[in-house]
């Protein structure tokens, strides 16, 4: 079942057409990575899901309910974490979570219990300082705590790792991965390695629409290039090997780079033995023979090209 559905969304800012015809859906219990270049409309899409920005046309549904611009009741299903969360610096984390709980309508006793649990989860349980003294990573962790306070069915995270150092990024990705066990997560970013690490579904936003959507593994298989990388023992053997490979009918490309030969071929499974036989018959010693796995970067570059 879909927890989120966007139908024919258009968004113009003056003469700028940010989204032209955005259609996508996110199924329950998935971690959906929304990827796209800077300025491709990821944040605009997130804010429209939250009813903070009005689409020029089209409709968005959260848990089957239509999102209304302005005050939307669908936000009771959602937890939201922006790229740089801004808090009231004069409050402590506990006070801020209490404010969020009261706004969401969580019972007073429940707020206290949830606050303890969440501060423990994000590693801020012993911190009693005012938020203005927090590092960026601490603020991001507090952001996750506030987003999870109302036990949302849908957690929306907008480029939450973009401004963090590697340690902070790992902490946030671990937290999101854990949150994904309880809620559906939509995670927008342009850092593809983050998506590969935690997402099981992806959508590529380009030219104002979602040009690709589906399970990450399937997409990577679909975009699999039949490619090999063979590393010879010495640099002078690489051109010799490349020349022999090019003579084979199923090899479409064999390029030399140092002592490495990058090979593109058709039907690897059927023809791989012929390559091995060639290496043996020509007595070319090799250091490495690797079938290249497709990366999300390849997929992304292919889609936006």
């Amino acid at each position: 079942m879909d927890i989120l559905r966007a139908e024919h969304i258009r968004k113009n800012f003056g003469s700028q057409h940010v989204l032209t015809d955005l259609n996508f859906s996110v199924s329950k219990h998935s971690i959906f990575g929304l990827i796209g270049k800077n300025g491709s409309g990821k944040t605009t899409t997130m804010k429209m899901i939250l009813g903070l920005i009005k689409p020029t046309s089209g409709s968005i549904y959260v848990c089957g309910e239509k999102v209304a611009y302005g005050d939307t009741p669908t936000n009771r299903h959602i937890g939201y974490l922006p790229d740089v969360p801004e808090f009231y610096g004069y409050m402590t984390a506990r006070e801020y979570l209490k404010l969020c709980g009261e706004i969401t309508g969580v019972r007073r006793s429940e707020i206290h219990k949830r606050t303890d649990e969440l501060l423990c989860l994000v590693g801020l349980n012993g911190v009693n300082r005012k938020i203005h003294s927090y590092s960026r990573g601490m603020k991001q962790r507090l952001g996750i705590a506030q987003a999870l306070l109302n036990e949302p069915e849908l957690l929306i995270c907008d480029e939450v790792t973009s401004a963090l150092d590697p340690v902070g990024r790992k902490e946030i990705l671990d937290l999101l991965s854990a949150a994904g066990k309880r809620a559906t997560v939509i995670f927008s970013t342009h850092i593809l390695s983050d998506v590969e690490r935690i997402c099981d579904q992806i959508g590529v936003l380009n030219n104002g629409q979602l040009e690709l959507q589906g399970p990450l593994n399937e997409i990577k298989q679909d975009y699999r290039q039949e490619a090999l990388q063979i590393e010879t023992l010495t640099p002078d053997q690489a051109p010799v090997l490349a020349a022999h490979l090019k003579a084979l009918p199923f090899i479409s490309k064999a390029e030399v780079s140092g002592r490495t030969v990058n090979v593109q071929l058709n039907h690897y499974e059927e023809n791989s033995l012929d390559i091995i036989r060639l290496l043996a018959s020509e007595s070319i010693p090799i250091l490495k023979y690797e079938r290249l796995e497709p990366t999300l970067e390849n997929v992304f570059m292919d889609v936006i090209r």
């Binding site: 804010k47 302005g70 009231y88 706004i103």
Partner: protein, 254 residues
């Protein structure tokens, strides 16, 4: 109107922890103490100044002069302080982005406007009430009590003018972006009201009359009927500005 109480409490805490409440209260207490003292001492100060050999003989100050000084101080410096303290009333939240996560949590946009208005109103009323009480006490101590016509009405007019400024600040903040744009737009609006006063006949309807005719109302120099008209017009403007704030903020992209 989900979240009004929680957001209102947050506003009050913010005024307390940012020392804005303390600053406003102190400034208005100083006004309350200073006005009767200045009124009492002014003739002595001036009579000791010989200008080109001419010695000024100022009549003995009265209960009226004390309140006259009070209205002068509050309608000028007091309103300037009010503008500065509440200048970023909504603009700062919008420019910093602190509201986004709370709105995404289901905080009603109407609750934001009304809680901000209620908190500012309470702070202004408390500061003004303190200033009036201290002014009253010192005046009774330093001067002989005289029957002062329309004193409470004059005090009410100035209080209402303060509320008028608060609502215009709130409305301006919803209309324009930027951390202090609301303050600039309000200052421009007040400037426009001052310019409009030069058009004959308009001064009696202008909200500015509530901050300029107070002393005149006590002495009978200002027309009470005109002041009452200005009060009604200001009430209508306050309600309209609040309504505009609610409607505009509800439709604002954040």
């Amino acid at each position: 109107m989900s979240g009004f109480t929680a957001f209102f409490k947050k506003e009050i805490v913010e005024y307390l922890r940012s020392y804005k409440a303390l600053i406003l209260l102190c400034v208005f207490i100083i006004f309350g103490m200073m006005s009767p003292l200045l009124a009492k001492m002014m003739p002595d100060i001036l009579s000791h100044q010989a200008i080109n050999g001419i010695t000024l003989n100022i009549p003995k100050p009265t209960f009226y002069d004390s309140f006259g000084q009070f209205f002068k101080n509050l309608s000028q410096m007091g309103m300037a302080v009010l503008l500065l303290i509440f200048g970023g009333v909504l603009s700062q939240d919008l420019s910093k982005g602190t509201l986004i996560m709370l709105l995404a949590k289901g905080l009603s946009r109407h609750a934001v406007i009304l809680a901000k208005f209620a908190a500012a109103l309470i702070l202004w009323t408390a500061s003004y009430a303190f200033a009036v009480m201290i002014q009253w006490g010192y005046t009774l101590y330093l001067f002989d009590k005289l029957p002062v016509p329309h004193l409470f009405f004059s005090l009410f007019c100035l209080w209402l003018f303060g509320i008028f400024i608060l609502t215009i600040l709130l409305m301006s903040s919803t209309l324009v972006g930027g951390a202090y744009s609301g303050l600039f737009l309000t200052t421009a609006a007040l400037g426009a009201l001052i310019v409009c006063q030069f058009i004959p006949g308009t001064d009696r309807f202008s909200p500015l009359a509530l901050a300029s005719d107070n002393a005149g109302l006590m002495t009978g120099a200002a027309n009470l009927h005109h002041a009452v008209t200005a009060v009604w017009i200001t009430v209508i403007l306050i309600v309209s500005a609040l309504a505009v704030s609610l409607v505009v903020f509800k439709k604002k992209s954040i």
